[in-house]
Symmetry: C2
Subunit: 681 residues, 2 copies
């Protein structure tokens, strides 16, 4: 395995091998494999390995190579109960650790989901309820499975899937059925694929849900039928024809190089990883030979809905922990999701039998032009020097039922990293009476209510700023006091910065009024120019934190949602800020609990620390978000701050017409300008 890097995801062969080892250990028993993924080596093993690797000591490297370990979750008996976890050493071909997760639930598998949809529709109870609705001729009923957002109304030992029902009124497979949310929902039992209860949904602010068998349900209101909610081009004939083609041409190919999972571009070097849960992960990120980050990945995301009426408090999705960003990654298509020269990375997962399944084109890698990187015009000579910003993008797009998320790490030539999230797709909808409205939702079509909700993302940032002993310094800008004899501020215009180091694990908040800046610094490395520590700063996305009451299940389960920034001491295995098993979790197992659980407060000063950034949107839908939502962009950045001794992008190529070949509008054939921007070039 010498050509396998410890950060490489498990190969199909490794998955098969790991599964075989488990099956051999537990013969004569059906096993449902939920998770077969790489258990990343302990950092204590990786550091010497990387040290040797960076030094180019190949032999040492092999000697130091950590064992390949597979992390496996499976249900004994093949159902959904009796969940077990084992670690399989693929080098030694043995199970090295096992523990029971009895009482916990695995994430919602798409195969299971589709089977659940069928079971729901096939049930007599559901069919009876549908008959009561007296749906229009030709209605095609669709079932949407939702993970069960804990609300305390059911025994959590029972794995329940919530099925919400919709219909479409055209036979077209891509008709938007979210335009017709039906008035009933179904509680399904995962173990038996059987109906627990069929419920009627509230249709007004003061309406309450109930058992259809008791309260019944009204026939579908024909006045709700409309034609404006389709999005598929087959069903939206009128299309604008004014947008002329726009192509990206790279005559010499891309500027990046890929060797397996090792990606180099400009002065960046990193390893691309992927797993069923986080999707895209990045490892051992270096710039110009200097270590910057050990690992970057989205840790979790939580989407709690604000509709207070049962059963809607159950709509609270952990899209990573309970659904999986990796397994829901789109198969990206050339020419559709990006322009220019594109390299795709596949993901590898498996089915419930443990057979490896390739997820093609799960990640794309390409370059974009981001306008002007830096410019200066010397007004004395009228000479302008312009450089353009080339950006490397690593993008993955996930579909979680109705909704899409576009996740992109962007690397810039000035040594910054951006993490961009775009939210798009179709709003989750609920039925409402035509003449009613509710204070926690927007009417987006006749009888269609799009409930308020929040998207809360937790980005895990494992820094290695010139080494693994880092500190978090909080800088603020404050006006100098007035009329203080000890301070020279005669004109009242002076301001200075304060710098506080965070000493122990804790949450922090954004404070724009004080221009609070979060700097990850290495106190052992001094910048010879600034005379201070080298560092990178987090440029956060300021967002409203979770609105659910601290005592609610939503808040208890998504501990990261209470504060914008958290700093912890690195611990192997502490990857998921809302806990490892979010499916029907009851709370008390996330980042706040970790910190609380330490026997004594852990120092984060000059230690191996991890930064966690909570950001998102309070999404109170607009009508414009319907029937499909224009991308809503969120951006987080990591920027060098006194890490270099000057602008690291000083040496990028000067922008010139000879290279860029732009076309002057008005001139025929697009002749080039008479005055090139940089006469000396």
């Amino acid at each position: 395995m010498s050509n396998v890097h410890p950060f490489d995801p498990l190969s199909p062969a490794e998955i098969s091998q790991a599964v075989r080892i488990v099956k051999n250990a537990i013969p004569h028993e059906p096993l449902a494999f939920r998770v077969v993924t790489l258990l990343e080596p302990p950092k204590s093993q990786m550091l010497p390995f990387l040290h040797a690797e960076h030094a180019g000591k190949a032999n040492d490297t092999n000697a130091n190579t950590p064992a390949r370990i597979a992390l496996i979750h499976f249900n004994r008996g093949g159902g959904v109960s009796d969940l077990c976890e084992v670690h399989v050493n693929l080098d030694a071909q043995t199970i090295v650790q096992e523990r029971s997760l009895a009482g916990r639930h695995s994430f919602q598998d798409t195969t299971e989901m589709q089977a659940m949809e069928k079971a729901c529709l096939a049930s007599a109870q559901v069919q009876d309820a549908l008959r009561l609705l007296q749906l229009p001729e030709g209605a095609v009923v669709q079932v949407e499975c939702w993970t069960y957002g804990t609300d305390g109304m059911n025994d959590m030992r029972e794995r329940i899937i919530m099925c919400y029902l919709y219909m479409s009124l055209t036979p077209h497979g891509d008709s938007n059925h979210y335009a017709y949310p039906l008035d009933i929902c179904v509680e399904m039992l995962s173990e038996t694929y059987s109906v627990k209860r069929v419920l009627s949904l509230p249709l007004g602010e003061n309406d309450r849900f109930g058992l259809v068998s008791e309260v019944g349900v009204k026939p579908f209101d024909r006045r709700k039928i409309h034609r404006s909610s389709e999005y598929h081009p087959d069903l939206v004939p009128e299309r604008r024809t004014t947008t002329k083609p726009y192509r990206v041409v790279q005559p010499q190919g891309p500027s990046f190089h890929v060797e397996g999972n090792l990606l180099t571009w400009e002065k960046w070097r990193m390893r691309v990883g992927f797993n069923f849960r986080e999707g895209l992960t990045l490892h051992d990120i270096m710039y110009d030979g200097r270590s910057v980050f050990y690992r970057l990945a989205l840790s979790e995301m939580f989407v709690p809905y604000g509709d207070s009426r049962a059963p809607y408090p159950r709509k609270a999705a952990f899209d990573l922990g309970s659904n999986g960003a990796g397994v829901n990654a789109n198969n990206l298509k050339l020419g559709c999701d990006c322009l220019g020269h594109i390299k795709y990375f596949d993901g590898v997962h498996h089915n419930m039998h443990g057979d490896p399944v390739v997820l093609p084109n799960a990640v794309c890698c390409h370059e974009i032009d981001d306008g002007i990187l830096w410019k200066h015009t010397n007004f004395r000579t009228n000479n302008a020097v312009v450089t353009r910003s080339r950006v490397l993008v690593l993008q993955t797009i996930i579909t979680v039922g109705n909704y899409e998320y576009i996740f992109a790490f962007q690397f810039t030539q000035d040594a910054s990293i951006n993490y961009e999230v775009r939210a798009t797709g179709i709003l989750s909808t609920a039925p409402i009476n035509l003449d009613e409205s509710v204070p926690y939702g927007t009417l987006v079509a006749p009888g269609v209510m799009a409930p308020y909700h929040q998207h809360l993302f937790s980005l895990r940032i494992d820094p290695a700023i010139d080494g693994h002993r880092n500190s978090l310094m909080v800088e603020e800008s404050h006006a100098m006091p007035l009329n203080d004899p000890a301070v020279h501020n005669p004109f009242g215009i002076g301001y200075t910065t304060t710098h506080k180091f965070v000493e122990t694990e804790s949450p922090l908040d954004i404070d724009i009024a004080r221009n609070r800046v979060f700097k990850i610094v290495n106190e052992n490395v001094c910048n010879p120019i600034s005379k201070g520590p080298v560092g990178y700063k987090l440029v956060p996305h300021p967002s409203q934190m979770i609105l659910a009451h601290p005592s609610s299940y939503h808040a208890q389960r998504s501990e990261f949602g209470e504060h914008a920034v958290w700093v912890t001491r690195y611990q192997d295995g502490e990857l998921y800020s809302a806990g490892e098993n979010t499916m029907q979790s009851a709370g008390g197992e996330g980042i706040a609990s970790w910190i609380r659980s330490r026997t004594s407060p852990l120092s984060v000063r000059d230690e191996d620390i991890v930064l966690w950034h909570t950001f998102g949107t309070t999404h109170n839908p607009r009508v414009e978000d319907w029937p499909v939502m224009p991308s809503e962009k969120l951006l987080v950045s990591l920027k060098p701050v006194n890490f270099f001794t000057r602008n690291p992008a000083l040496d990028v190529p000067i922008s010139s017409q000879a290279e860029n070949q732009s076309v002057l509008v008005g001139e025929s054939g697009g002749s080039t300008s008479a005055n090139p921007c940089c006469p000396k070039l």
Copy 2:
């Protein structure tokens, strides 16, 4: 003049004509023309005109056409005192209004500035001081003129220019002299181009400035000589060669159409304006035949420095009011400042004699691709529908001495408008002793200190959301109360929005913790789907407000800097939120003063209102910002919120490989993907 639109800037012929009329009125006297620009017609005249124009009533239009009026500022006697303002009616060829601005100062003219540099260097006093510095062999001294930031130390009736001295140590004209700030500065008198005082600068935290003739000045410290501060390619030989060419090809040309200053693109329609002060202005902005904004432009920007030591409190630049974004606009070069098909707009200004001067390529217009606009994958059919976001960019770049600003209005296919500001260029620097540091600056090179400063922008937004009677509604998201019998929130997860209308002119602040949203709505137009008023929301750029003490000249002069959002009732002529004449202003003439000056509070409810957004950065320089700064991006957006009855970008073309012709990395010759993204297309 029937083909001239009332929003068209003055043509060279109109400028000549206006100047001639003034010269004829005031013969036998030298006049220095500072301002000759269009006085935009009163809105009361424009509304009927636009109404007829939109209705295609050409004849009516001519009948309603407001007179062309030139706004002119000139100094009688040809010096800098006795400033006068006149309005010239170009149709009637008469002066229709005049007033004396005696005691006020015009903005800093670049011609004047360059003459001032020469005068400063030529002065014996300055030469004596330079001799004391014993500069190295071959040093080339450069003078930087700064407008005088009022600090109360000089009589404001005297127009003073601050000259800071620098040197370069190479003969190359584009050598970065900001790397060698000299220890002296000079107060120059504008009227006589003569030296008022030569001052020594403080070189340490406890150092104070003084008259060189009294305190002297030390010889230049040779240990400060270094080679790492150049930016021009001639002087930075080592350049990365890894960035491969990247071109934008538009085989069918751009998607926009330009007729004079009328710009149409996709469903947008607007008029492009330009003037010496604001630079790019936009007028009568419509989407799909509906009125959205009457006028958009940057109103003012203020750059106060945080160094409390005299004379640095004088470093406080109003880059629009005292320098001019228009007159300092770069001559944009094809292939350097943007890619693809580019249309340029010229600006028109004049010299002090009143002769028209064309500012070529002051604004560029082009398209960019901004990634995915919307996407949905139907997991049942595996059909993905993707649209790409095409964006129209109107960009202007200004150079104010050492610094550059890139201003861009971006129009999107989903009916949003972004205003992007990029800050780049070279940091303003001050000398410092090698062994010292100060708490209000960063050391960026040996003996070079980059002082902390703020960039505060004031964006003026004159809305016309489906008409000119609009209101400002402030929305917040609040958790529903817990254990309140009057509220149904049994699970503690409910949240709703509050909506407050702003009734009278006032400043407002951003509140992220409450997800405060600023919605400009038209209460007279109801969205048939949402059942609420149509509107656009301001997506602000959350920023720290001005740090200078409210009693300071900085705060008094830049009234807009105290709050993030202001709403006022529209008044003709209220364009500049820090006042009309910022040059050595003493304060009390900006947006807060307007509001205070109303005889009674003006209603902004269902009235013709104007929104003003203050945003910026507290820029505490990084070493990475030296010797030239990577662009720092700021973004403000205006987005429809329940303005349309569905996603206005629903009809954009579906992204396809046939159109985009991307190239798969790894395949030779870039063959296209086997599976197009939208099989049905």
